[in-house]
Symmetry: C2
Subunit: 208 residues, 2 copies
């Protein structure tokens, strides 16, 4: 198993779904599952699941299924979430507020450590368990703490500039909540989460 | 142009990104663009963009580019966002709060019309411009107003049951913020937005 070997990004994108489902099974006390059961829960074919997982090694045998505990541990290693990644939140509006209080990060490999905003009226206020920091301090903090992951929750017209500053300070992965497509260097990873693009992908199929 | 003809879902998924980028260009006063410019902004090849758009008709000519206004209107029609879809928010926690106040829906084809929660202590409180309603009323409201779209922002262990009730009442499209995979009938569309699956897709590529 070598995560440097080439794995298609579309496969990488399915691994967090496998992990999430397996962790939920584990929480519910289940010990063994099958590609069939996983496939039913995820709407992905069992053959696809077996093929995806086989890219990383031998995780189960025909007829005996997968040991959930073992597969969870392996997927956590593969996705590099067997440790906790520190994250900064940029933008202390409604989305930033929800992110700073979100309970679901830490047991899945991430934690917010600071929240920044460029509005002097917000700096110093509390947001969830954090005190809002000025973006003037942002680059320095990211460098000093060697933070690589940022949650970008600023208005669309400020997002590119904020992303530029984050990247210059050392951020390598941005989860972008602003409804624009960011332009970033090749070595920076961006995932976008815009509720409207999700909704429009569904409204295409709906009739008034 | 006939949205009943078969278009691959992966193409449908790119159309909202084209629309978003074109609308932004329009806002900035731009009138004409090219598949090359769109491709640069989106990180999608110009050939792919031309191929995607050609599935829906003739939108531009080699050498003259796309009329942004015209293409925006056509994409809005194709994605059925040339009207406004009413939506319900289920769950009045932090995410529900952010959704109920989100400013970016209405000019892109959607609006929140009601917010529901099953906590009697929350019912009647204000959330953004809404008063939180009891989920006891949810099915009736959805039926009466013929609402087809729901934003599901309840805890993971309540999400499947809430989805079942929504679907029974007539909801056809669910944007699911709960970190579980919902099981739904084939005629219901679900899109998932879980920050951690996005983050894990990036942490795969990062080194500690």
């Amino acid at each position: 198993m070598d995560s440097d070997s080439f794995i298609p990004d579309i496969v990488v994108g399915r691994l967090p779904l496998y992990l999430r489902t397996l962790q939920r099974m584990k929480q519910e006390g289940q010990c063994i599952t099958s590609s069939h059961e996983l496939g039913e829960k995820l709407g992905i074919s069992p053959a696809q699941i077996r093929k995806d997982l086989s890219l990383f090694g031998e995780f189960g045998k025909q007829g005996t299924g997968y040991q959930i505990d073992y597969l969870v541990e392996k997927l956590r290693q593969i996705l590099h979430v067997d440790k906790i990644w520190d994250m900064v939140v940029v933008g202390a509006g409604d989305v930033g507020h929800a992110l700073s209080r979100y309970q679901g990060f830490s047991d899945r490999g991430f934690q917010v450590v600071m929240v920044f905003d460029n509005d002097p009226n917000k700096v110093g206020l509390e947001i969830g368990p954090f005190q809002i920091q000025s973006t003037d301090l942002m680059s320095q903090v990211i460098r000093e703490k060697n933070i690589q992951v940022a949650l970008l929750a600023v208005p669309a017209d400020q997002a590119q500039e904020a992303a530029n500053r984050l990247i210059e300070a050392g951020i390598k992965a941005i989860l972008n909540y602003a409804p624009i497509t960011l332009t970033v260097p090749k070595y920076v990873y961006v995932q976008n989460t815009d509720p409207v693009t999700h909704l429009q992908r569904m409204s295409y199929y709906l009739n008034f």
